[in-house]
Symmetry: C2
Subunit: 416 residues, 2 copies
Amino acid sequence: MNSKKNAFYAQSGGVTAVINASACGVVETAAKSKKINKVLCGENGILGALNENLIDTSKESKTTIAKLKNTPGGAFGSCRFKLQDPVKQKKEYERLFEVFAAHDIGYFFYNGGGDSQDTTYKISQMAKKLKFPLQCIGIPKTVDNDLPFTDCSPGFGSVAKYVATSTLEAGLDVKSMAETSTKVFILEVMGRHTGWIAASSCLAAAKAGDPPHIILLPEVPFEKGEFISQVKQTVKKNGYCVIVASEGTQTKNGKFLADSGSTDAFGHKQLGGVAPVLASMISKIGLKNHWAVADYLQRSARHIASKTDLDQAYAVGKHAVKLAISGETAVMPVIKRISNAPYKWKIETAPLKNIANVEKTMPKKFISKNGFEITSSGKRYLSPLIVGEAPCFYKNGIPDVASLKKYSVKKKLKSF
Amino acid sequence: MNSKKNAFYAQSGGVTAVINASACGVVETAAKSKKINKVLCGENGILGALNENLIDTSKESKTTIAKLKNTPGGAFGSCRFKLQDPVKQKKEYERLFEVFAAHDIGYFFYNGGGDSQDTTYKISQMAKKLKFPLQCIGIPKTVDNDLPFTDCSPGFGSVAKYVATSTLEAGLDVKSMAETSTKVFILEVMGRHTGWIAASSCLAAAKAGDPPHIILLPEVPFEKGEFISQVKQTVKKNGYCVIVASEGTQTKNGKFLADSGSTDAFGHKQLGGVAPVLASMISKIGLKNHWAVADYLQRSARHIASKTDLDQAYAVGKHAVKLAISGETAVMPVIKRISNAPYKWKIETAPLKNIANVEKTMPKKFISKNGFEITSSGKRYLSPLIVGEAPCFYKNGIPDVASLKKYSVKKKLKSF
């Protein structure tokens, strides 16, 4: 008789450049454990459990599993899907436990952001109530860096490195052209509610006057007059101006600039894009400008991942398994910063109980008085997160990513 | 008495991730030559010569010069500036020769695209007429890959690698989210008149069904109906659709999609952006979509430069010096492909005489019948250009770029 139980692992919410490194940490650590039989992954997140679409990772080669560290996106498919409230509507939760029972699942790992970890918590509570033996462990992930309890969120450091590097590189481009051409460059980055990603562009500057010259954060109400005046001043002083804007840049009454009513030729409301809105303001004052919108490029850029971030993503996956087999539940491994210089960190454990109600915004002390820059304490926090390179492997000039065979586990239940 | 002459080098037009590697090739090769004294660089291209703003590279350390290979943008400043026609207006040309005489310039190197090389040619003809001993050598550069005489243009391979890599990475992101979220992703890339850059995204696909699914080229008239139908079909078949669009995508009557009359909230005409225009079409058919505009990020991305491209950029710089000291003038080193597999190339020499009148567009045989894909012969051409990695050095997590001291040469003339 086998006393081992299977583990369920799934990815949830917006994916990152390193979420598969967490998956790799889970699968590789579970393979060494005497308590875990197979790791079965949910296809497209929790939907995989609901629909009994499970992928058997034990049939993938060790090389393929190791290559997950080299692969952006969610290798097993992710989802934006919120389970119904178990108090009002139990059906979905009941189904989950049917599937867990049918596939001998004793461990539940959910790799996601705040909402997903709230789900993990609810499942742990349901297991308790049902007396179903299930260790439920959250694995943190989000490029937004807004998860509570952890010093940083796996996925963020790599976006930060992408944004800092891109700002530095595009800044050199604009600087060399500014005498006779483009004077202002705008880079739009992610961050609807928090400015962590835009803030990380500050790491591109080695000395005063280096780009970025203006950072726009959702935390700081946008004032057109002040912004334009800052652009003019910067161009006058440096000959050019590089702006990094959060997609969530908003006015003091909470109106997103990107939703400022732009219409296309057909009179349709334009989709997002704070960069083109800023560009049109700058064109009005006669400054030639260019703009870029990084969108998914930033969060999938495994080729420029931060080694620190990759290591942390792997570590939380590995540690999640250790917590589960030591009998913990309703917890999440988190990153604890021990020191800034040299940067040292370790893994600690946080309860999932209150995770849904806490969002980590940028501390005020990280934002300069004029609202356009990041202070030295902000830089001290951000700086170590982008350190270290984790070059991916290439084949024919492009990243050599994991190609999973995705062996489906045979279904045992009726469809949901 | 010193029989050595100084060399003038300048950068022109839109910069690239590897134009400074050409500069490095010029400076390092000149340093070994018995015929060249110093390399004096024009600050901001030819403007540096007109305004007698010259940078003495002999005062930079060898380490700094070597680091140019690690540095995107134009390290000496570039310009978009067209000299007046020497037949109609000689003033500018006369000034150039005054400056060359004052600074003992015997070699002229101009690193740029077609227009810049036309300038190089005109200067060579003027030198001949004036019996001014000046070897004029063009050094090819353009991300657009539209230069004639050369198999490819230094700068293009690195953009191609960036675009292929970004398409692969963002494609994995979208694929993993498509079940419950974004179904269509649009990446807008450079290329106003030719689709070389968009075409290079085809290298992201390892097998049928891989992104990119639709490539929009300026060479193929945009038909909204066909496009939308292709998007629908692709989503139906693969569950998601990745589109790579040239900024110069246009209708059959030559109207750029990006100039389709979009207006912002203030009623101002929006600046460019074919991606948001396509996004609004796709939203109309009810498919959730996201879009990115790579803009300067793509042409300054030294961190993901192609080793092949970097080597070629260095080689044309080095070879330009060899041509000059061997007495050649009005020529440009070009890349000649010897074989595809294994990829072999060498440097040959092309005359500058007709360069202004020739533009290399994509051959029809590179474009699939439906106009949305690249054929296997196109892939054979593009494939070797992105091969090889040339990782840059990093410091504190960001690229460690050359920081030139830029010693100004003392002016000897009145200002122009």
